[in-house]
């Protein structure tokens, strides 16, 4: 472990300074309101600060470090021009409450971004306000609630969620005050139509669905699903986590979805930042547009304005207008790729996933081994049955081979799942190397199982005691 910045504290080593003070150095704050407690932040020089954080960065692994087939997360290459764009002073150094006439370029960008999102998703209006996918889900489910409420249809207290759904779906429904009813998957890994029919009722507000689903499979009966939900008076919510697979091929709006969220940090190439910031715009069909959060950007003549006068709006889900800086990056991405480029993304994402699925199924069990979209699920069944190797062991052994492992133990409906999403930005050579590494691990599992069970061997730390960390939480540094 590197020394903590607090352990590099040297009194008076920090030489940060302000310009000479040109105004009287008075303090007009009553003594009783002033801080008494010492502020014990570290004092470190600039050079040592830079070295500290540079050292930390060397103990991290990003998409630029290597292959990152993290299922459901779409860890594609983050174009550098997008970083450049968001850092332009005209975007980075403007205050959210500046007069509209001083931020016409920013408002125009938001306006155009909304239009592009509408076209890509097949929706009529978008808000750019939600800060992440889960935040978009919350916004969308609030819109579902507002819609039923306005119609006086308040007995709808349930939200349907497939058993293959992301954990955020049921959590979101709960946070917005709904009871969650799970819909089963059938033996093909798709929504069980009979179970959906049985669970749809006049108490159901809507269905949250990901398509392609979390098994990477396209819900082929989507039209039927949509009509069951709509005929029952519910709304259809699209979790956009997997949109990368279908851009330019088909659109959630045309499948019958009423509300969608997009993950700009997945589909549109903005970096994940080690956990954020992301951006989760929410789109709706015209009949739900009145419920969108305020403000929305409108064009009046040749001027762009922020419209707050929307009486049916659910209100605000975030301060200001959302993660504008992330929106600039995604806008730059869409502009760079254009219509053909976006379709090319879907083509290659799906090709890469099927290429891996096909070749890896020689060595690993693939429960739904048929045409997939942007990702697929394997598991450790072969290795476990024979030598007691778990999915966790395989993931940790991949670290020794220099890879970020796939998503593991999700979706929950596949035992010991290994969820692999290569994305479109990987070369055949990279994929072949990964297949070889996975084949090697399969061989090791057979010949040297202990090597796999005790992995990783080459990382700066070995497997970490997570149970101990939770039992006896140490969540900040304390002076010894």
């Amino acid at each position: 472990m590197s020394k903590l910045i607090f352990e590099k504290h040297v009194p008076f080593s920090n030489s940060f300074s302000l310009p000479p003070c040109e105004v009287p150095e008075v303090v007009e704050i009553p003594e009783a309101l002033q801080r008494k407690e010492k502020l014990s932040l570290p004092e470190v020089s600039e050079v040592e600060t830079i070295r500290h954080f540079t050292e930390l960065s060397r103990k991290a692994y990003g998409v630029d470090s290597g292959f990152y087939p993290l299922g459901s997360c779409t860890m594609k290459y983050n174009p550098k021009i997008d970083e450049w764009a968001a850092r332009l002073p005209g975007f980075a150094n403007i205050h959210p409450y500046q007069p509209e006439e001083t931020v016409q370029g920013a408002l125009e960008l938001m306006y155009e971004m909304e239009k592009m999102c509408c076209e890509i998703a097949g929706m009529d209006r978008f808000t750019l306000q939600p800060a992440a996918g889960a935040h978009g889900e919350m916004t969308g489910v609030m819109i579902i609630k507002a819609y039923h409420k306005k119609r006086g249809d308040e007995k709808r207290t349930k939200i349907l969620v497939p058993d293959s759904a992301h954990g955020t779906n049921p959590a979101t429904a709960n946070v917005v005050g709904y009871d969650v009813v799970e819909v089963k998957s059938n033996d093909r890994g798709l929504v069980d139509i009979e179970d959906l029919k049985a669970k749809m009722s006049d108490e159901v507000a809507g269905l949250m669905l990901t398509n392609p689903n979390t098994l990477g499979l396209f819900e082929e009966e989507i039209v039927k699903i949509a009509s069951i939900v709509h005929e029952g008076g519910g709304l259809l919510y699209y979790d956009g986590a997997n949109l990368n697979a279908i851009m330019g091929v088909c659109r959630p709006g045309d499948m019958g979805f009423d509300i969608v969220h997009l993950n700009l940090h997945k589909t549109f190439g903005t970096p994940h930042g080690g956990g954020g910031p992301g951006s989760g715009p929410v789109g709706v069909k015209a009949f739900l547009a009145e419920f969108l959060p305020v403000p929305v950007v409108e064009k009046k003549g040749d001027k762009y304005v922020l419209d707050y006068d929307r009486p049916e709006s659910i209100g605000k889900v975030k301060n200001f207008y959302g993660n504008f800086g992330v929106v600039v990056k995604a806008y730059t991405y869409i502009k760079s790729l254009g219509r053909d480029g976006l379709k090319d993304v879907a083509y290659n994402a799906v090709l890469n996933a099927n290429y891996l699925r096909h070749h890896l199924s020689q060595y690993y069990n693939v429960p739904y081994n048929r045409l997939c979209k942007h990702e697929f699920i394997a598991n450790s069944k072969f290795q476990h049955d024979k030598n007691g190797i778990t999915t966790m062991d395989i993931a940790k052994r991949l670290l020794d081979y220099g890879y970020h492992p796939p998503t593991v133990y999700f979706p929950l409906i596949v035992h010991e799942a290994i969820m692999i999403e290569p994305t479109e930005t990987e070369t055949k050579e990279r994929l072949d190397d990964f297949i070889k590494a996975m084949a090697d691990i399969a061989r090791e599992a057979e010949e040297e199982p202990e090597k796999v069970k005790n992995a990783p061997h080459t990382t700066v730390v070995k497997r970490i005691d997570e149970v101990g960390a939770a039992r006896n939480p140490i969540v900040k540094w304390e002076e010894e």
Partner: protein, 437 residues
């Protein structure tokens, strides 16, 4: 521009190796009736030269706070960001990484968050901090959700918290999980007696913003802490982290939860986001707080190591039983905050807070010399409201004079000051507001 690296011949070879003939075969499972069957109605892709030109043109149509001095605050402040912050943020091991779910190859990110958590604890005086949230407004809403129980659902809020934060609370309350009671203030500050009267058995929490939306430093918070604690509710404070260098900390007031916006800690204004919300709490709430938390542990060889901890609270484990659906943090913005605080140090933060305050005091005195008066007479930190009949007309006049004015209230303009402002800029502001030119 494309970022798909396989040339057509290679793609074809890959298709063949899996028994397919064309890209179209990859989508055979998508029913015809939902196919787009046309091109997306978007322009053709652009080369990098064209994209640069296009974005530059848009960016140039915005007036930046570097071009015109900015006296806007109201939740986002034009504080100085040292050049070194962005240099570190551009380390791609940080910004192109996912959440540190694989701790063995993410020790750097985990440690930076652990350091951030410690810094937030030091600033607020509270025991524990999460890894950050979307922004100050949503962190406040999440804090309210932590406070509610089946018996106590009322959140008492004075009317002088940030109006956008109040709007977010009301939106989150659409869930029916908690109810907001807004208590009108007096003379720009909270009405302590009215607040105390509202507190009762069903009170989940009292929310106080310090300094409040008008920039005023509230007094008498200790009394409210006592009253709400007697009723087993929580005191939630929404605070400005820069102010904490010189103002009493939430812990000193007896707060159970402190939240706020961390934009001022090394993050650009960026037209309102991305920022970060910080969230700190007393030890007893550790297992209830939302979001990610980094903990210290040991590896199988007994070496110190960091890991995401207490995940049993989170949505991917608890699913429909989770009390928050948050599954991310604003890691890169929190990293910016940690780098910023390391670069300026405790004395630097104090100097920045003091200088901002002194600039504001100077401006107040100069405005009063011109016959203008403050809307409220209470002590302020770095922002205050100055009375005027038509703030919108005045803002236009300021803009004509190359100044980004303040936040408009009905009968006043809120002006904010930071260490970046100069005496000359303030003198010019005062001259325009005082009617000269």
């Amino acid at each position: 521009m494309r970022y798909t690296p396989n040339p057509p011949a290679v793609a074809e070879e890959m298709l063949k190796s899996i028994g397919l003939n064309s890209f179209e075969d990859l989508f055979a499972d998508i029913p015809q009736e939902v196919r787009l069957n046309r091109e997306l109605d978007l322009p053709e892709g652009l080369s990098e030269i064209e994209v640069k030109r296009h974005l530059l043109e848009k960016a140039r149509r915005n007036i930046t706070v570097d071009e015109y001095p900015c006296f806007l605050g109201a939740g986002a402040y034009d504080h100085f960001v040292p050049a070194a912050v962005d240099q570190i943020l551009l380390r791609s091991e940080f910004y192109t990484a996912y959440t540190p779910y694989q701790p063995e190859i993410s020790q750097g990110i985990l440690q930076s968050i652990f350091e951030y958590q410690t810094m937030i604890c030091k600033l607020t005086g509270l025991d524990v901090s999460n890894a950050s949230m979307y922004d100050g407004g949503t962190a406040l809403a999440e804090a309210c959700q932590v406070a509610v129980s089946s018996k106590a659902k009322k959140i008492i809020v004075p009317d002088n918290i940030h109006p956008e934060n109040l709007r977010i609370l009301k939106t989150y309350a659409l869930s029916g999980r908690f109810a907001i009671e807004v208590i009108p203030g007096k003379d720009g500050i909270i009405d302590i007696e009215a607040m105390k009267k509202a507190i009762g058995k069903g009170t989940a929490a009292v929310v106080i913003q310090q300094p409040n939306f008008y920039g005023i430093i509230e007094q008498g918070i200790e009394e409210l802490a006592e009253a709400v604690h007697q009723n087993k509710g929580l005191l939630i404070m929404s605070v400005d982290p820069i102010s904490l260098a010189i103002l009493k900390s939430p812990a000193e007031y007896g707060a159970d939860i402190a939240v706020g916006d961390g934009q001022v800690l090394g993050n650009n204004l960026s037209f309102g986001g991305p920022y970060l919300g910080f969230f700190a709490a007393s030890e007893k709430l550790l297992r209830k707080i939302p979001g990610r938390i980094v903990g210290q542990s040991v590896d199988s060889e007994g070496k110190k190591a960091f890991v995401l901890t207490l995940q049993a609270r989170e949505q991917h484990i608890r699913r429909e039983k989770a009390s928050s659906n948050i599954c991310s943090n604003q890691a890169l913005c929190a990293l910016a905050a940690a780098i910023y605080l390391s670069l300026i140090g405790p004395e630097g933060l104090r100097q920045i807070a003091l200088r901002s305050h002194q600039m504001a005091v100077y401006a107040k005195n100069e405005l009063e010399k011109k016959g203008l008066t403050l809307k409220y007479k209470q002590p302020f930190f770095r922002e205050f409201a100055v009375k005027m009949d038509n703030p919108s007309t005045m803002n236009k006049k300021l803009l004509e004079n190359g100044i980004i004015g303040g936040f408009e209230l009905d009968d006043a303009m809120m002006l904010a000051f930071t260490e970046k402002r100069t005496r000359a800029e303030i003198d010019k502001l005062v001259n325009v507001l005082g009617g000269e030119k």
